[in-house]
């Protein structure tokens, strides 16, 4: 028997994991379409230069190669947002507001196994805070529909950290950025005498935190966060203002969010406003979006195979009865599989229940069938009687 060795870049999905991805897609369709979003299929290849301009440092983790025909550097998809804008600009589908959702793989050398799955939404052409609230609410709805519990939704504004970084000595900027990302109080207390900035990573809570933000000159940020809070509360989304939340993707321009759940150290979803990203393609329209990291959820929620109805084991001489009955049951709307392998009845039954069939049907020449509900529990009846009783699935 040959053995398969996994390479460091491979991400193999088992049948259960694959079915989790399928279910996530079906639920994404259900939830995002209920918010009026259209599905957008996005390319897997993009110009490396555009990727670099949109996601900055993170493009170093992309898989890039030189096209032997044009000599151009091409990257595999690392982020969906830029591609969504590019696609809509090039197909001239820009009647605003434009609501799209996507689903697919991204490739990053920074991930364990280079491929991972994401779904997400983009709301373009909307500048107001209701748009941000819509994106966050839809993502929260989606996570809850998938069955993710104990969501911690943190909202913040990139304006806060950008201003703090802009006002510091250029030589200290990188160290300060790192300290903000690590919520390093020791470093910040050393740098700032004002307690608000020194303890910025710990500034979190409800409305009261916005007053402190205003006191320190962040009027626009406080106003937008306050308005967002009103929308989210009305929608029943439980959230926390977390001024220590730092998003290091360069394209964000306003409100940002991150969603965590117990048991996972990485966020399960995140996103924010990107009002200047369209300028990459010579346009000028605002936008906001959010992505959900399906692979991370898979490790939390697991996956299961699609439930199936009947597994038909044909013991008749000619072996045509099973074929005919299977087709008939499919016409009735059942999920039906056939046992096309010669083996003992006992092995066929074990296979059937292990593979997700809820019943196994043994067909015989004498027009009698045996219906198994477990490998050991069964009842016998005539084929005619059986077909009468199961006509309506």
């Amino acid at each position: 028997m040959s053995r398969v060795f996994l390479s460091f870049f491979e991400r193999i999905y088992s049948l259960r994991e694959s079915n989790f991805i399928k279910d996530s897609f079906l639920k994404a369709v259900q939830v995002f379409e209920s918010y009026g979003y259209d599905y957008l299929y996005l390319p897997i290849l993009e110009k490396h230069s555009e990727q670099e301009s949109s996601i900055g440092e993170r493009s170093k983790e992309s898989l890039t190669f030189r096209d032997t025909v044009s000599g151009e550097l091409i990257s595999l998809r690392r982020d969906f947002t830029t591609l969504a804008i590019r696609t809509l600009v090039s197909s001239r589908e820009l009647d605003f507001p434009k609501r799209v959702f996507y689903f697919g793989r991204i490739v990053s050398t920074g991930e364990e196994g280079y491929e991972s799955y994401q779904t997400g939404i983009e709301l373009m052409g909307v500048k107001n805070v209701e748009g941000d609230a819509e994106v966050i609410s839809a993502v929260v709805d989606y996570l809850q529909t998938l069955g993710v519990e104990d969501l911690s939704v943190s909202v913040s504004h990139v304006g806060i950290h950008r201003k703090v970084l802009a006002n510091c000595d250029a030589r200290d900027r990188e160290a300060l950025r790192k300290a903000l990302l690590e919520r390093n109080i020791t470093y910040l207390r050393d740098k700032f005498s004002d307690g608000f900035f020194a303890e910025l990573p710990l500034q979190s809570g409800g409305k009261e935190i916005l007053a402190r933000l205003r006191e320190h000159g962040f009027e626009r940020e406080a106003r937008e966060l306050e308005s967002l809070g009103e929308f989210l509360r009305e929608r029943g989304v439980d959230f926390t203002y977390d001024l220590g939340e730092v998003k290091d993707l360069p394209y964000y321009t306003g409100i940002v969010f991150e969603i965590h759940t117990e048991g996972l150290s990485f966020p399960v979803a995140s996103g924010g406003r990107y009002d200047r990203l369209s300028e990459l393609f010579g346009m000028s329209f605002p936008g906001a979006g959010g992505a959900v990291y399906i692979d991370r959820l898979q490790s939390l929620l697991g996956g299961k195979l699609q439930a199936k109805d009947f597994f038909l084991i044909d013991t008749s001489k000619e072996k045509r009865l099973g074929y005919r009955v299977a087709n008939l049951l499919r016409e009735y709307g059942y999920r039906v599989g056939r046992d096309l392998v010669s083996r003992s009845l006992e092995h066929s039954l074990l296979y059937a229940f292990k593979s997700g069939f809820s019943k196994a049907l043994v067909l015989r020449d004498d027009d009698r069938i045996i219906l198994y509900t477990t490998p050991k529990d069964s009842e016998a009846m005539s084929l005619k009687e059986f077909l009468e009783t199961i006509k309506q699935p």
Binding site: T186, D242, E262, S265
Partner: protein, 203 residues
């Protein structure tokens, strides 16, 4: 709330600090028990190098971890507060004649348990090294000719001195930090923030 504390010297120093800051009311001893319940706090005793693994993966909400460990094992955790305990240095050391080898040799053999720190340090210097990964008694390596140099933690310098070794260059200073799991920081904010507050206010 669960906190992972490193076994050994840092455990004792952490407990003393927590007692001083009013986080613990009674002293706890390092024994055979790996999980000790103190009121609402569950203390887990783990190997120093494993603290970030427990915290990163959510088995512990908080941890006390040496900066040397965080450098060696980069982890997706928050690094909140320098606790000012477990102070030491990560150094390049060797026999006194090792200084010349350090300056002139085109390729150095370095014994260490800090593979990542050693690799990054010498790469930044543009020096080629062959790293010999050892799990303990690193000081022995240059004495018996297994390596030219070592990279190791130096606290008082006594062990080096007793083995006729000297510090050749300091790579970084290290002390213990309070770290937290990124999800716990959000979901257990109400417990974690006062914990940090008690430590920060007193420092």
């Amino acid at each position: 709330m669960r906190i992972a504390l490193p076994k050994g010297r840092l455990f004792k120093e952490s407990v003393e600090l927590f007692l001083k800051r009013g986080i613990l009311e009674e002293p706890i001893e390092e024994g055979r028990k790996l999980v000790i319940k103190v009121g609402e706090l569950e203390v887990m005793l783990v190997k120093p190098f494993d603290v970030p693994v427990y915290v990163e993966n959510g088995a512990a909400d908080l941890g006390v971890c040496g900066y040397d460990v965080l450098l060696e094992r980069p982890s997706e955790v928050y690094r909140h507060v320098d606790l000012g305990i477990g102070e030491c240095r990560v150094c390049v050391a060797g026999k006194p004649e090792g200084r010349l080898i350090y300056e002139e040799s085109p390729c150095l053999r370095v014994a260490t348990k800090y593979r990542f720190i050693t690799d990054s340090f010498f790469k930044a210097k543009g020096k080629r090294v062959r790293i010999l990964h050892l799990n303990g008694s690193v000081e022995l390596a240059p004495l018996i000719g297994l390596s030219d140099l070592i990279v190791d933690l130096v606290q008082t310098g006594r062990t080096l001195k007793e083995n006729g070794l000297v510090v050749i260059e300091e790579i970084t200073r290290s002390s213990a930090w309070l770290i937290s799991n990124k999800a716990s920081f959000r979901s257990k904010r109400a417990e974690i923030l006062p914990f940090i507050d008690k430590l920060v206010k007193a420092l």
